[in-house]
Amino acid sequence: MGFPEPGIKKTEAILPGSYIHTVIEPPKGWAPLQLGELWKFRELLFFLTWRDIKVRYKQTALGAAWAILQPVLTMVIFSIVFGGLAKLPSEGIPYPIFTFTALLPWQLFAFALAESSNSLVGSQNLVSKVYFPRLVVPFSSVLAGVLDFAIAFVVLMGMMVFYHIRLTSLALLLPLFLLLTLASALAVGLWLSALNVKYRDIRYVVPFLTQFWMYATPIAYSSSLIPEKWRWLYSLNPMTGVVEGFRLAILGKSSLDLFSLGISASVVVLLLIGGLYYFKRMESSFADII
């Protein structure tokens, strides 16, 4: 009876409970979101975001200066055309900083929207060869825009010093509005990226949509120009709340009212939840049709 008993040890090691059990079944329509899975893949999310940032300005002569040039040049043009020639009112704030404050979240939004709607199709090789929650892809493209935003924000700080504008305690709201910007971009990006897998038309829709959207957002003008009775309709554009929110947080002055902000925020939440479910539903077929 001096024999070792490997059998016992073996059963211990291979108890079914010691392995993660995965079940693979045909998809059943609207599936639960499983956002916990996204958390499990947070390192991948980090690496993909990091890759997007690292690669963005590779082989460009000006590099990250583009992050400053784009909003600054737009501001200059807007200041000349809308502030100088059209003399649009800017609520007593110098026009350049009035529009630049709005351009920051707008460019973040526009960039994140463009990148995320193209993200799945752009990651074709990943989607058809490796498993991971596909949500990681549009998520990371939205996050990658934050660095550009931060760089441009430094310019804004400089401008505030130049125009002698002091930050108030309202600036504490800034993270909230930043979050709302990202959520808006993600919400729309989720819909468009999933649709883009099937309908490549999206590629042509996005630039047009972005341009149209910009004029529907109070960037070059103030939302106080909109007649009171149409304000609710105007606020259905989530970026209205975001942009006016930024003005409030940074310049301390804005025509933002809680009602409009409420509408904008609700639209974002609805779009986001809808987008998440739609994305999840389409997810299982991505690899087949991409």
């Binding site: 108890l15 079914p16 392995y19 693979i24 079944e25 045909p26 993909l48 690669v55 498993y131």
Partner: protein, 413 residues
């Protein structure tokens, strides 16, 4: 059944045909179709069932922990679909899979490599994509670098790597993935012969360590040496399952049948098709005199003259191992293809292969290296070397796994 790693039950995957149309579907089509639907319904047209096919049908099998299982079958039989379902890239249409353990899948070498990032950066990125944690990657970093033999170029952008270095690095990352269940698709078909050997060795280690491996390959030698058991998939269903040697034999006899299809009608070919092999004839009447003739007929599709083509035939043994490549180029014999094509006869003298079945794969391109491949048909024809008295000793030689006969003499000195 506590040591079960994978249980597949009645698995099926349906694809719609005309996937191309589906893929490039536009809004306009979708809107027009939806808008026109009520009208068509009134007219009594019911929605036409889209033509579809089952890439996998009613597949069931089980794999225990520590088993290495080979999956073989012709191109398009459903092997890759099966692996994609097991690695959760695509979902099944029917059935159920239970997996016990962490799955790592390698369907391609270098997935997610970014040309603008350095070797070091790509190791981390690729590792994360394959499912490794940052800590795991850091622990194995030195090992990965050593395995890939790229120490000097670690901080060089990958786009400046040679293709060999690129593949070595990509495989090195993948090889250091340590899941409980490893799913591998034909990734060994890359790199030079020496690196392939290294990769196979690594795979062997993985199997020996008692981890579960599912391995798809066309390299029957690799399947037989790595996997004790194998599954043969034919047109979406399992046709044979069991000990690898038997399954491989079964598969090879089935590919033999495939050759009954006339060469001109074979679909499993590669190349641009400007020139096409439309006939191959193997004359083995003189095989007992160690001579074999292969006649190839090349059809010229677009009636242009080709002055100097590279033509070759590769001879493979029954395990798919290449034995010899007979290239017109090497023996300095230019071949001119006229507008009506050309017929070529290749005569092999001194055939010294042991009895068995061998295959011939013809290849034609504009240039032997990096040229435009016109046509390439793997296993276009087979020939048998019978048992015969090679050495003229009045008997067939005694064989025990050898592959060639050599002429030799013995003398005392």
């Amino acid at each position: 059944m506590s040591d079960l790693a994978i249980r597949v039950e009645h698995l099926g995957k349906q694809y719609r045909l005309g996937g191309q149309q589906l893929r490039y579907a536009t809004f306009r089509e979708a809107i027009l179709k939806t808008a026109g639907a009520p009208l068509r319904w009134l007219k009594g047209e019911r929605r036409a069932q889209p033509t579809s096919f089952w890439a996998l049908e009613d597949v069931s099998f089980e794999v225990k922990h520590g088993e290495a299982v080979g999956i073989i079958g012709r191109n398009g039989a459903g092997k890759s679909t099966l692996l994609k379902i097991l690695s959760r890239i695509t979902s099944p249409t029917r059935g159920r899979v239970d997996i016990y353990g962490r799955v790592g899948s390698l369907l391609e070498v270098g997935t997610g490599f970014h040309p603008e990032l350095t070797g070091r950066e790509n190791i981390f990125l690729n590792g994360a994509i394959l499912g490794m944690t940052r800590r795991e990657i850091m622990q194995k970093f030195d090992e990965i670098v050593a395995f890939a033999e790229i120490e000097k170029f670690l901080d060089t952008t990958v786009k400046y790597y040679s293709s060999g270095m690129y593949v070595r690095l990509a495989f090195a990352v993948a090889a250091h993935l340590e899941p409980e269940i490893l799913v591998v698709d034909e990734v060994l078909a890359v790199g030079d012969a020496e690196f392939q050997k290294k990769c196979l060795g690594k795979m062997g280690d993985v199997a020996k360590e008692g981890r579960t491996v599912l391995f798809v390959s066309h390299n029957m030698g690799a399947i037989e040496s790595l996997c004790e058991k194998s599954i043969l998939i034919e047109t979406g269903s399992i046709s044979t399952m069991g000990i690898s040697n038997d399954v491989v034999k079964n598969y090879l006899s089935s590919t033999y049948r495939e050759v009954k299809i006339p060469l001109a009608l074979r679909k499993d070919r590669q190349g641009t098709g400007k020139l096409i092999f439309d006939e191959i004839n193997v004359n083995d009447s003189q095989i007992r005199n160690r001579s074999l003739q292969v006649d190839l007929s090349i059809y010229n599709q677009n009636k242009e003259e080709y002055k100097n083509v590279a033509l070759s035939i590769v001879i493979n043994d029954h395990l798919g191992r290449p034995l010899s490549n007979l290239i017109n180029y090497i023996i300095d014999k230019p071949i001119f293809v006229g507008v009506h094509g050309v017929k070529v006869r290749i005569t092999i003298n001194n055939i010294n292969l042991v009895p068995g079945t061998y295959s011939i794969s013809p290849f034609i391109s504009s240039d032997i290296q990096n040229g435009e491949i016109y046509d390439w048909v793997i296993n276009a024809a087979y020939f048998d070397i019978p048992d015969y008295d090679y050495y003229h000793i009045g008997n067939t030689p005694y064989l025990k796994g050898e592959t060639i006969y050599l002429d030799y003499i013995y003398e005392t000195i």
